[in-house]
Symmetry: C2
Subunit: 282 residues, 2 copies
Protein backbone atom coordinates (compact mmCIF):
# COMPACT_ATOMS: atom_id res chain seq x y z
CA UNK A 1 0.00 0.00 0.00
CA UNK A 2 2.71 2.48 0.92
CA UNK A 3 5.04 1.66 -2.00
CA UNK A 4 7.86 2.85 0.22
CA UNK A 5 11.18 3.50 -1.51
CA UNK A 6 14.55 4.70 -0.26
CA UNK A 7 16.01 7.23 -2.69
CA UNK A 8 19.28 7.86 -0.83
CA UNK A 9 20.83 7.48 2.60
CA UNK A 10 24.07 9.22 3.60
CA UNK A 11 26.08 9.47 6.79
CA UNK A 12 25.66 12.84 8.54
CA UNK A 13 26.67 13.86 12.09
CA UNK A 14 26.98 10.25 13.12
CA UNK A 15 23.47 9.44 11.89
CA UNK A 16 21.77 9.01 8.53
CA UNK A 17 20.24 11.63 6.23
CA UNK A 18 17.80 9.93 3.89
CA UNK A 19 15.36 10.83 1.14
CA UNK A 20 12.32 8.62 0.53
CA UNK A 21 9.29 8.28 -1.72
CA UNK A 22 6.01 6.50 -1.16
CA UNK A 23 2.57 6.17 -2.70
CA UNK A 24 0.30 8.41 -0.65
CA UNK A 25 -3.30 7.28 -0.30
CA UNK A 26 -4.32 10.63 1.17
CA UNK A 27 -2.73 12.68 -1.62
CA UNK A 28 -3.52 10.15 -4.34
CA UNK A 29 0.01 9.82 -5.69
CA UNK A 30 3.71 9.65 -4.93
CA UNK A 31 5.08 11.88 -2.18
CA UNK A 32 8.67 12.57 -1.17
CA UNK A 33 10.06 13.31 2.25
CA UNK A 34 13.38 13.48 4.08
CA UNK A 35 14.28 11.88 7.40
CA UNK A 36 17.34 12.44 9.55
CA UNK A 37 18.04 9.64 12.02
CA UNK A 38 20.42 10.66 14.81
CA UNK A 39 23.16 8.30 16.00
CA UNK A 40 21.08 7.40 19.08
CA UNK A 41 18.42 5.84 16.82
CA UNK A 42 20.44 2.67 16.35
CA UNK A 43 19.73 1.93 20.02
CA UNK A 44 15.96 2.38 19.86
CA UNK A 45 13.02 4.66 19.15
CA UNK A 46 13.60 8.39 19.48
CA UNK A 47 11.39 11.50 19.72
CA UNK A 48 10.47 12.97 16.36
CA UNK A 49 10.30 16.56 15.14
CA UNK A 50 8.42 17.47 11.96
CA UNK A 51 9.50 20.47 9.88
CA UNK A 52 7.02 22.01 7.44
CA UNK A 53 8.51 24.15 4.69
CA UNK A 54 7.19 27.23 2.96
CA UNK A 55 5.98 28.29 -0.48
CA UNK A 56 8.09 26.94 -3.39
CA UNK A 57 10.05 24.62 -1.09
CA UNK A 58 10.44 20.85 -1.19
CA UNK A 59 11.60 18.15 1.20
CA UNK A 60 15.15 19.17 0.26
CA UNK A 61 15.05 22.82 1.23
CA UNK A 62 15.36 22.78 5.00
CA UNK A 63 17.19 19.47 4.86
CA UNK A 64 20.00 21.18 2.96
CA UNK A 65 19.78 24.73 4.28
CA UNK A 66 18.57 24.81 7.88
CA UNK A 67 21.49 23.09 9.61
CA UNK A 68 19.19 21.18 11.99
CA UNK A 69 20.90 17.77 11.72
CA UNK A 70 23.79 18.83 13.96
CA UNK A 71 21.34 19.59 16.76
CA UNK A 72 19.14 16.57 16.09
CA UNK A 73 22.27 14.46 16.50
CA UNK A 74 23.16 16.26 19.70
CA UNK A 75 19.70 15.78 21.22
CA UNK A 76 18.92 12.38 19.74
CA UNK A 77 15.89 13.48 17.77
CA UNK A 78 14.54 12.19 14.46
CA UNK A 79 13.76 14.95 11.93
CA UNK A 80 11.04 14.50 9.30
CA UNK A 81 10.77 16.99 6.45
CA UNK A 82 7.92 16.40 3.96
CA UNK A 83 7.40 18.06 0.62
CA UNK A 84 5.00 21.03 0.59
CA UNK A 85 2.39 19.49 -1.74
CA UNK A 86 1.73 16.63 -4.13
CA UNK A 87 3.61 16.96 -7.44
CA UNK A 88 2.91 16.27 -11.08
CA UNK A 89 -0.78 16.32 -10.33
CA UNK A 90 -1.74 17.23 -13.89
CA UNK A 91 -4.49 19.39 -12.41
CA UNK A 92 -5.34 22.51 -14.35
CA UNK A 93 -4.28 25.59 -12.38
CA UNK A 94 -2.06 23.62 -10.00
CA UNK A 95 1.20 24.73 -11.60
CA UNK A 96 2.66 27.99 -12.84
CA UNK A 97 1.81 30.04 -9.74
CA UNK A 98 4.24 29.91 -6.83
CA UNK A 99 1.52 30.99 -4.39
CA UNK A 100 -0.98 28.23 -5.18
CA UNK A 101 -1.06 24.55 -6.05
CA UNK A 102 2.11 22.50 -6.35
CA UNK A 103 4.66 23.78 -3.85
CA UNK A 104 1.87 25.67 -2.08
CA UNK A 105 -0.37 23.09 -0.42
CA UNK A 106 -0.99 25.33 2.61
CA UNK A 107 -1.36 22.23 4.84
CA UNK A 108 -5.11 22.09 4.24
CA UNK A 109 -7.44 19.30 3.09
CA UNK A 110 -8.94 20.80 -0.04
CA UNK A 111 -12.68 20.34 -0.39
CA UNK A 112 -13.07 21.95 -3.79
CA UNK A 113 -12.78 20.29 -7.20
CA UNK A 114 -10.38 19.71 -8.80
CA UNK A 115 -7.97 20.11 -5.87
CA UNK A 116 -9.80 17.92 -3.32
CA UNK A 117 -8.53 14.73 -4.99
CA UNK A 118 -4.85 15.48 -4.34
CA UNK A 119 -4.27 18.53 -2.15
CA UNK A 120 -4.79 17.03 1.29
CA UNK A 121 -1.62 18.05 3.07
CA UNK A 122 -3.36 18.46 6.42
CA UNK A 123 -4.32 14.79 6.70
CA UNK A 124 -1.05 13.83 5.07
CA UNK A 125 1.07 15.57 7.70
CA UNK A 126 -1.17 14.79 10.69
CA UNK A 127 -2.14 11.19 9.86
CA UNK A 128 -0.56 9.37 6.95
CA UNK A 129 3.02 10.55 7.22
CA UNK A 130 3.38 9.92 10.99
CA UNK A 131 1.94 6.41 10.54
CA UNK A 132 4.34 5.73 7.68
CA UNK A 133 7.28 7.13 9.61
CA UNK A 134 6.40 5.00 12.64
CA UNK A 135 6.39 1.88 10.43
CA UNK A 136 9.72 2.55 8.74
CA UNK A 137 11.83 4.55 11.20
CA UNK A 138 12.84 4.25 14.86
CA UNK A 139 10.56 6.98 16.19
CA UNK A 140 8.48 7.23 19.34
CA UNK A 141 5.21 8.75 18.10
CA UNK A 142 4.18 9.63 21.65
CA UNK A 143 6.96 12.19 21.61
CA UNK A 144 6.31 14.34 18.53
CA UNK A 145 6.75 18.04 17.92
CA UNK A 146 6.35 20.30 14.91
CA UNK A 147 7.83 23.48 13.50
CA UNK A 148 7.94 25.24 10.19
CA UNK A 149 8.65 28.32 8.11
CA UNK A 150 6.25 30.83 6.58
CA UNK A 151 3.45 28.71 4.99
CA UNK A 152 4.99 25.84 6.97
CA UNK A 153 4.89 27.92 10.14
CA UNK A 154 1.17 28.32 9.45
CA UNK A 155 1.00 24.54 9.03
CA UNK A 156 2.85 23.89 12.28
CA UNK A 157 0.75 26.33 14.32
CA UNK A 158 -2.61 25.17 12.98
CA UNK A 159 -1.81 21.48 13.30
CA UNK A 160 -0.50 21.85 16.85
CA UNK A 161 -3.43 24.02 17.95
CA UNK A 162 -5.88 21.42 16.59
CA UNK A 163 -3.96 18.49 18.13
CA UNK A 164 -2.41 19.68 21.37
CA UNK A 165 -2.52 16.05 22.52
CA UNK A 166 -0.29 14.86 19.69
CA UNK A 167 2.47 17.45 19.69
CA UNK A 168 4.63 18.24 22.68
CA UNK A 169 5.76 21.60 21.32
CA UNK A 170 5.40 23.91 18.36
CA UNK A 171 7.47 26.75 16.95
CA UNK A 172 7.69 28.75 13.76
CA UNK A 173 9.94 30.99 11.72
CA UNK A 174 8.13 33.93 10.14
CA UNK A 175 4.77 32.10 10.00
CA UNK A 176 1.61 33.08 8.22
CA UNK A 177 -0.63 33.44 11.28
CA UNK A 178 -3.82 34.85 9.81
CA UNK A 179 -4.34 33.43 6.31
CA UNK A 180 -7.96 34.57 6.33
CA UNK A 181 -6.73 38.16 6.40
CA UNK A 182 -3.69 38.28 4.09
CA UNK A 183 -3.23 38.03 0.31
CA UNK A 184 -1.56 34.59 0.32
CA UNK A 185 -4.48 33.09 2.23
CA UNK A 186 -7.15 35.08 0.44
CA UNK A 187 -5.84 33.66 -2.82
CA UNK A 188 -5.38 30.04 -1.75
CA UNK A 189 -8.09 29.32 0.80
CA UNK A 190 -11.13 29.99 -1.43
CA UNK A 191 -9.71 27.76 -4.16
CA UNK A 192 -8.93 24.92 -1.77
CA UNK A 193 -11.83 25.34 0.67
CA UNK A 194 -14.55 27.37 -1.05
CA UNK A 195 -15.92 30.79 -0.36
CA UNK A 196 -17.42 30.02 3.07
CA UNK A 197 -15.02 31.65 5.46
CA UNK A 198 -16.19 29.40 8.29
CA UNK A 199 -14.23 26.59 6.65
CA UNK A 200 -11.09 28.72 6.65
CA UNK A 201 -11.14 29.12 10.43
CA UNK A 202 -9.88 25.54 10.90
CA UNK A 203 -6.72 26.61 9.13
CA UNK A 204 -6.16 30.01 10.70
CA UNK A 205 -3.90 30.13 13.77
CA UNK A 206 -5.45 33.37 15.02
CA UNK A 207 -8.92 31.83 14.87
CA UNK A 208 -7.82 28.50 16.31
CA UNK A 209 -6.03 29.86 19.35
CA UNK A 210 -9.23 31.63 20.38
CA UNK A 211 -10.94 28.22 20.49
CA UNK A 212 -8.21 26.07 21.97
CA UNK A 213 -4.85 27.00 23.43
CA UNK A 214 -1.69 24.92 23.24
CA UNK A 215 -0.07 23.72 26.47
CA UNK A 216 3.35 25.30 26.81
CA UNK A 217 4.88 28.32 25.16
CA UNK A 218 4.74 28.78 21.40
CA UNK A 219 8.06 30.10 20.05
CA UNK A 220 8.05 32.36 16.99
CA UNK A 221 11.03 34.13 15.44
CA UNK A 222 10.44 36.93 12.96
CA UNK A 223 12.96 38.96 10.98
CA UNK A 224 12.23 42.66 10.83
CA UNK A 225 13.77 42.99 7.35
CA UNK A 226 11.40 40.29 6.05
CA UNK A 227 9.76 41.71 2.92
CA UNK A 228 6.58 39.76 3.70
CA UNK A 229 6.31 41.04 7.27
CA UNK A 230 3.74 43.77 6.81
CA UNK A 231 1.70 42.40 3.95
CA UNK A 232 1.52 38.66 4.61
CA UNK A 233 2.82 37.70 8.05
CA UNK A 234 1.50 40.25 10.55
CA UNK A 235 2.75 38.52 13.71
CA UNK A 236 1.07 41.22 15.78
CA UNK A 237 -2.27 39.60 14.95
CA UNK A 238 -1.18 36.33 16.55
CA UNK A 239 0.41 38.18 19.43
CA UNK A 240 -2.94 39.83 20.13
CA UNK A 241 -4.93 36.63 19.63
CA UNK A 242 -2.64 34.76 22.04
CA UNK A 243 -2.89 37.53 24.61
CA UNK A 244 -6.67 37.43 24.41
CA UNK A 245 -6.77 33.64 24.63
CA UNK A 246 -4.22 33.34 27.42
CA UNK A 247 -1.82 31.46 25.14
CA UNK A 248 1.84 31.66 26.18
CA UNK A 249 3.79 33.03 23.23
CA UNK A 250 7.43 33.97 22.89
CA UNK A 251 7.53 36.19 19.79
CA UNK A 252 11.04 37.43 19.06
CA UNK A 253 11.68 40.13 16.48
CA UNK A 254 15.16 40.27 14.96
CA UNK A 255 16.34 43.50 13.31
CA UNK A 256 18.05 43.00 9.95
CA UNK A 257 16.93 39.43 9.27
CA UNK A 258 14.91 38.59 6.19
CA UNK A 259 12.66 35.66 5.17
CA UNK A 260 15.48 33.36 4.02
CA UNK A 261 17.20 30.27 5.33
CA UNK A 262 20.09 32.50 6.44
CA UNK A 263 17.60 33.69 9.04
CA UNK A 264 16.38 30.18 9.84
CA UNK A 265 19.88 28.71 10.15
CA UNK A 266 20.80 31.50 12.57
CA UNK A 267 17.98 30.69 14.99
CA UNK A 268 17.39 26.99 14.39
CA UNK A 269 19.47 26.11 17.44
CA UNK A 270 17.02 27.95 19.70
CA UNK A 271 14.08 26.12 18.11
CA UNK A 272 15.77 22.75 18.44
CA UNK A 273 16.42 23.44 22.12
CA UNK A 274 12.78 24.50 22.57
CA UNK A 275 11.61 21.17 21.16
CA UNK A 276 14.31 19.12 22.89
CA UNK A 277 13.14 20.47 26.24
CA UNK A 278 9.50 19.64 25.52
CA UNK A 279 10.48 16.18 24.28
CA UNK A 280 12.45 15.44 27.44
CA UNK A 281 15.84 15.59 25.70
CA UNK A 282 17.31 18.71 27.27
CA UNK B 1 39.24 48.03 -12.97
CA UNK B 2 37.58 45.61 -10.58
CA UNK B 3 33.98 46.36 -11.66
CA UNK B 4 32.93 45.26 -8.20
CA UNK B 5 29.23 44.59 -7.69
CA UNK B 6 27.19 43.44 -4.69
CA UNK B 7 24.62 40.86 -5.79
CA UNK B 8 23.04 40.29 -2.38
CA UNK B 9 23.73 40.75 1.32
CA UNK B 10 21.67 39.05 4.03
CA UNK B 11 21.88 38.87 7.81
CA UNK B 12 23.23 35.54 9.06
CA UNK B 13 24.46 34.61 12.55
CA UNK B 14 24.78 38.25 13.50
CA UNK B 15 26.95 38.99 10.47
CA UNK B 16 26.39 39.35 6.73
CA UNK B 17 26.33 36.67 4.03
CA UNK B 18 26.97 38.30 0.67
CA UNK B 19 27.40 37.35 -2.96
CA UNK B 20 29.52 39.51 -5.24
CA UNK B 21 30.69 39.79 -8.85
CA UNK B 22 33.69 41.56 -10.30
CA UNK B 23 35.61 41.83 -13.56
CA UNK B 24 38.65 39.64 -13.15
CA UNK B 25 41.80 40.72 -14.94
CA UNK B 26 43.48 37.40 -14.26
CA UNK B 27 40.59 35.30 -15.60
CA UNK B 28 39.66 37.79 -18.31
CA UNK B 29 36.00 38.10 -17.40
CA UNK B 30 33.41 38.30 -14.65
CA UNK B 31 33.88 36.14 -11.57
CA UNK B 32 31.54 35.51 -8.66
CA UNK B 33 32.37 34.85 -5.06
CA UNK B 34 30.71 34.74 -1.64
CA UNK B 35 31.89 36.41 1.55
CA UNK B 36 30.62 35.91 5.08
CA UNK B 37 31.45 38.77 7.44
CA UNK B 38 31.12 37.82 11.11
CA UNK B 39 29.55 40.21 13.62
CA UNK B 40 33.01 41.18 14.93
CA UNK B 41 33.88 42.65 11.50
CA UNK B 42 31.95 45.84 12.23
CA UNK B 43 34.64 46.66 14.80
CA UNK B 44 37.63 46.15 12.53
CA UNK B 45 39.64 43.85 10.30
CA UNK B 46 39.38 40.13 10.97
CA UNK B 47 41.33 37.02 9.95
CA UNK B 48 40.17 35.47 6.70
CA UNK B 49 39.62 31.86 5.67
CA UNK B 50 39.34 30.87 2.00
CA UNK B 51 37.27 27.83 1.00
CA UNK B 52 37.91 26.23 -2.38
CA UNK B 53 35.12 24.05 -3.73
CA UNK B 54 35.22 20.92 -5.85
CA UNK B 55 34.23 19.79 -9.33
CA UNK B 56 30.83 21.09 -10.53
CA UNK B 57 30.53 23.47 -7.58
CA UNK B 58 30.13 27.24 -7.51
CA UNK B 59 30.55 29.99 -4.94
CA UNK B 60 27.11 28.99 -3.64
CA UNK B 61 27.76 25.35 -2.82
CA UNK B 62 29.69 25.47 0.43
CA UNK B 63 28.09 28.79 1.31
CA UNK B 64 24.70 27.07 1.41
CA UNK B 65 25.67 23.54 2.43
CA UNK B 66 28.74 23.52 4.68
CA UNK B 67 27.33 25.29 7.74
CA UNK B 68 30.56 27.24 8.32
CA UNK B 69 28.99 30.64 9.02
CA UNK B 70 27.92 29.66 12.54
CA UNK B 71 31.54 28.93 13.43
CA UNK B 72 32.94 31.92 11.55
CA UNK B 73 30.60 34.07 13.65
CA UNK B 74 31.73 32.33 16.81
CA UNK B 75 35.42 32.82 16.04
CA UNK B 76 35.19 36.17 14.31
CA UNK B 77 36.55 35.03 10.99
CA UNK B 78 35.72 36.25 7.47
CA UNK B 79 34.93 33.42 5.02
CA UNK B 80 35.64 33.80 1.29
CA UNK B 81 34.24 31.27 -1.14
CA UNK B 82 35.14 31.78 -4.82
CA UNK B 83 33.65 30.04 -7.83
CA UNK B 84 35.62 27.06 -9.17
CA UNK B 85 36.38 28.54 -12.61
CA UNK B 86 35.53 31.35 -15.00
CA UNK B 87 32.08 30.95 -16.61
CA UNK B 88 30.57 31.55 -20.02
CA UNK B 89 34.02 31.49 -21.53
CA UNK B 90 32.78 30.52 -24.95
CA UNK B 91 35.88 28.37 -25.29
CA UNK B 92 35.50 25.20 -27.31
CA UNK B 93 35.75 22.18 -25.03
CA UNK B 94 35.31 24.20 -21.83
CA UNK B 95 31.72 23.07 -21.23
CA UNK B 96 29.82 19.80 -21.31
CA UNK B 97 32.33 17.80 -19.25
CA UNK B 98 32.00 18.02 -15.47
CA UNK B 99 35.64 16.98 -15.04
CA UNK B 100 37.22 19.70 -17.19
CA UNK B 101 36.77 23.36 -18.01
CA UNK B 102 33.99 25.43 -16.49
CA UNK B 103 33.35 24.23 -12.94
CA UNK B 104 36.65 22.36 -13.06
CA UNK B 105 39.42 24.93 -13.04
CA UNK B 106 41.68 22.76 -10.87
CA UNK B 107 43.26 25.90 -9.34
CA UNK B 108 45.98 26.01 -12.00
CA UNK B 109 47.21 28.75 -14.32
CA UNK B 110 46.64 27.17 -17.72
CA UNK B 111 49.49 27.61 -20.16
CA UNK B 112 47.89 25.92 -23.14
CA UNK B 113 45.67 27.50 -25.79
CA UNK B 114 42.77 28.09 -25.73
CA UNK B 115 42.50 27.76 -21.96
CA UNK B 116 45.43 29.99 -20.94
CA UNK B 117 43.42 33.14 -21.64
CA UNK B 118 40.80 32.44 -18.99
CA UNK B 119 41.59 29.45 -16.81
CA UNK B 120 43.98 31.01 -14.31
CA UNK B 121 42.41 30.05 -11.01
CA UNK B 122 45.76 29.70 -9.27
CA UNK B 123 46.70 33.36 -9.68
CA UNK B 124 43.09 34.31 -9.14
CA UNK B 125 42.88 32.64 -5.74
CA UNK B 126 46.42 33.48 -4.59
CA UNK B 127 46.73 37.04 -5.90
CA UNK B 128 43.76 38.79 -7.42
CA UNK B 129 40.98 37.67 -5.10
CA UNK B 130 42.85 38.37 -1.84
CA UNK B 131 43.75 41.86 -3.10
CA UNK B 132 40.14 42.50 -4.07
CA UNK B 133 38.85 41.15 -0.76
CA UNK B 134 41.29 43.34 1.17
CA UNK B 135 40.01 46.41 -0.71
CA UNK B 136 36.32 45.73 -0.16
CA UNK B 137 36.03 43.80 3.11
CA UNK B 138 37.31 44.17 6.68
CA UNK B 139 39.97 41.45 6.50
CA UNK B 140 43.48 41.26 7.91
CA UNK B 141 45.45 39.70 5.01
CA UNK B 142 48.34 38.88 7.34
CA UNK B 143 46.04 36.33 8.96
CA UNK B 144 44.82 34.13 6.12
CA UNK B 145 44.14 30.42 5.95
CA UNK B 146 42.75 28.10 3.29
CA UNK B 147 40.74 24.90 3.06
CA UNK B 148 38.76 23.07 0.44
CA UNK B 149 37.00 19.94 -0.77
CA UNK B 150 38.10 17.40 -3.36
CA UNK B 151 39.45 19.47 -6.30
CA UNK B 152 39.32 22.40 -3.86
CA UNK B 153 41.25 20.37 -1.30
CA UNK B 154 43.89 19.94 -3.99
CA UNK B 155 43.77 23.68 -4.51
CA UNK B 156 44.12 24.41 -0.79
CA UNK B 157 47.02 22.01 -0.30
CA UNK B 158 48.99 23.12 -3.33
CA UNK B 159 48.48 26.82 -2.69
CA UNK B 160 49.47 26.53 0.97
CA UNK B 161 52.51 24.37 0.21
CA UNK B 162 53.70 26.93 -2.35
CA UNK B 163 53.01 29.90 -0.07
CA UNK B 164 53.62 28.80 3.51
CA UNK B 165 54.36 32.44 4.32
CA UNK B 166 50.89 33.58 3.26
CA UNK B 167 48.66 31.01 4.91
CA UNK B 168 48.63 30.29 8.63
CA UNK B 169 46.93 26.92 8.22
CA UNK B 170 45.53 24.54 5.64
CA UNK B 171 43.04 21.69 5.74
CA UNK B 172 41.03 19.62 3.29
CA UNK B 173 38.03 17.36 2.97
CA UNK B 174 38.62 14.38 0.69
CA UNK B 175 41.28 16.18 -1.39
CA UNK B 176 42.85 15.15 -4.66
CA UNK B 177 46.44 14.84 -3.42
CA UNK B 178 48.20 13.39 -6.44
CA UNK B 179 46.61 14.72 -9.62
CA UNK B 180 49.60 13.56 -11.66
CA UNK B 181 48.65 9.99 -10.82
CA UNK B 182 44.84 9.83 -10.96
CA UNK B 183 42.28 10.01 -13.79
CA UNK B 184 40.90 13.46 -12.90
CA UNK B 185 44.38 14.96 -13.05
CA UNK B 186 45.54 12.92 -16.01
CA UNK B 187 42.59 14.29 -17.94
CA UNK B 188 42.80 17.95 -16.87
CA UNK B 189 46.48 18.70 -16.37
CA UNK B 190 47.69 17.95 -19.93
CA UNK B 191 44.95 20.12 -21.39
CA UNK B 192 45.66 23.04 -19.04
CA UNK B 193 49.44 22.64 -18.71
CA UNK B 194 50.70 20.57 -21.63
CA UNK B 195 52.24 17.15 -21.78
CA UNK B 196 55.43 18.00 -19.87
CA UNK B 197 54.85 16.42 -16.50
CA UNK B 198 57.42 18.73 -14.90
CA UNK B 199 54.84 21.51 -15.19
CA UNK B 200 52.30 19.39 -13.33
CA UNK B 201 54.52 19.07 -10.26
CA UNK B 202 53.74 22.67 -9.23
CA UNK B 203 50.14 21.58 -8.83
CA UNK B 204 50.60 18.22 -7.15
CA UNK B 205 50.53 18.18 -3.35
CA UNK B 206 52.54 14.96 -3.14
CA UNK B 207 55.28 16.47 -5.30
CA UNK B 208 55.20 19.84 -3.57
CA UNK B 209 55.49 18.54 -0.03
CA UNK B 210 58.70 16.78 -1.00
CA UNK B 211 60.12 20.18 -1.94
CA UNK B 212 58.75 22.39 0.78
CA UNK B 213 56.84 21.51 3.93
CA UNK B 214 54.15 23.60 5.58
CA UNK B 215 54.67 24.87 9.11
CA UNK B 216 52.07 23.31 11.39
CA UNK B 217 49.91 20.25 10.98
CA UNK B 218 47.85 19.73 7.84
CA UNK B 219 44.37 18.41 8.68
CA UNK B 220 42.63 16.08 6.21
CA UNK B 221 39.30 14.30 6.69
CA UNK B 222 38.37 11.46 4.37
CA UNK B 223 35.19 9.39 4.28
CA UNK B 224 35.71 5.69 3.80
CA UNK B 225 32.46 5.30 1.84
CA UNK B 226 33.63 7.95 -0.64
CA UNK B 227 33.21 6.47 -4.12
CA UNK B 228 36.24 8.42 -5.34
CA UNK B 229 38.51 7.22 -2.55
CA UNK B 230 40.37 4.45 -4.34
CA UNK B 231 40.38 5.75 -7.89
CA UNK B 232 40.87 9.50 -7.54
CA UNK B 233 41.78 10.54 -4.00
CA UNK B 234 44.32 8.03 -2.66
CA UNK B 235 45.11 9.84 0.61
CA UNK B 236 47.70 7.16 1.39
CA UNK B 237 49.94 8.75 -1.26
CA UNK B 238 49.96 12.04 0.60
CA UNK B 239 50.31 10.26 3.93
CA UNK B 240 53.47 8.61 2.62
CA UNK B 241 54.79 11.79 0.98
CA UNK B 242 54.30 13.72 4.23
CA UNK B 243 56.00 11.00 6.25
CA UNK B 244 59.00 11.07 3.89
CA UNK B 245 59.16 14.86 3.94
CA UNK B 246 58.69 15.25 7.69
CA UNK B 247 55.40 17.09 7.17
CA UNK B 248 53.02 16.94 10.13
CA UNK B 249 49.72 15.52 8.88
CA UNK B 250 46.53 14.59 10.70
CA UNK B 251 44.68 12.31 8.28
CA UNK B 252 41.40 11.08 9.72
CA UNK B 253 39.40 8.34 8.04
CA UNK B 254 35.69 8.17 8.81
CA UNK B 255 33.78 4.95 8.20
CA UNK B 256 30.45 5.37 6.44
CA UNK B 257 30.95 8.92 5.16
CA UNK B 258 30.83 9.69 1.45
CA UNK B 259 32.07 12.58 -0.72
CA UNK B 260 29.09 14.87 -0.10
CA UNK B 261 28.42 18.00 1.90
CA UNK B 262 26.70 15.81 4.53
CA UNK B 263 30.25 14.66 5.23
CA UNK B 264 31.68 18.17 5.12
CA UNK B 265 28.99 19.67 7.37
CA UNK B 266 29.66 16.94 9.92
CA UNK B 267 33.35 17.78 10.26
CA UNK B 268 33.46 21.46 9.36
CA UNK B 269 33.51 22.41 13.04
CA UNK B 270 36.83 20.61 13.50
CA UNK B 271 38.30 22.38 10.48
CA UNK B 272 37.10 25.77 11.65
CA UNK B 273 38.68 25.16 15.04
CA UNK B 274 41.93 24.09 13.34
CA UNK B 275 42.05 27.37 11.45
CA UNK B 276 40.83 29.49 14.37
CA UNK B 277 43.71 28.20 16.46
CA UNK B 278 46.27 28.99 13.76
CA UNK B 279 44.73 32.43 13.24
CA UNK B 280 44.93 33.24 16.94
CA UNK B 281 41.18 33.08 17.48
CA UNK B 282 40.89 30.00 19.67
Amino acid sequence: MSGFETLSEQACFGGVQGFYRHDSVVCGGPMRFAVYQPPQAVQGRRPVLYYLAGLTCTEETATIKAGAQRLAAQYGMVLVMPDTSPRDTGIDGATGDWEFGEGAGFYVDATQAPYAARFRMYSYVVEELPALVARHFPVDPTHSSVFGHSMGGHGALTIALRHPDRYRSVSAFAPIVAPSQVPWGLKALPRYLGEDRAAWADYDACELVARQTFPGTILIDQGEADKFLEGQLKPELFDQACAEAGQALLLRRHPGYDHSYWFISTFVEDHMRHHAQALGLA
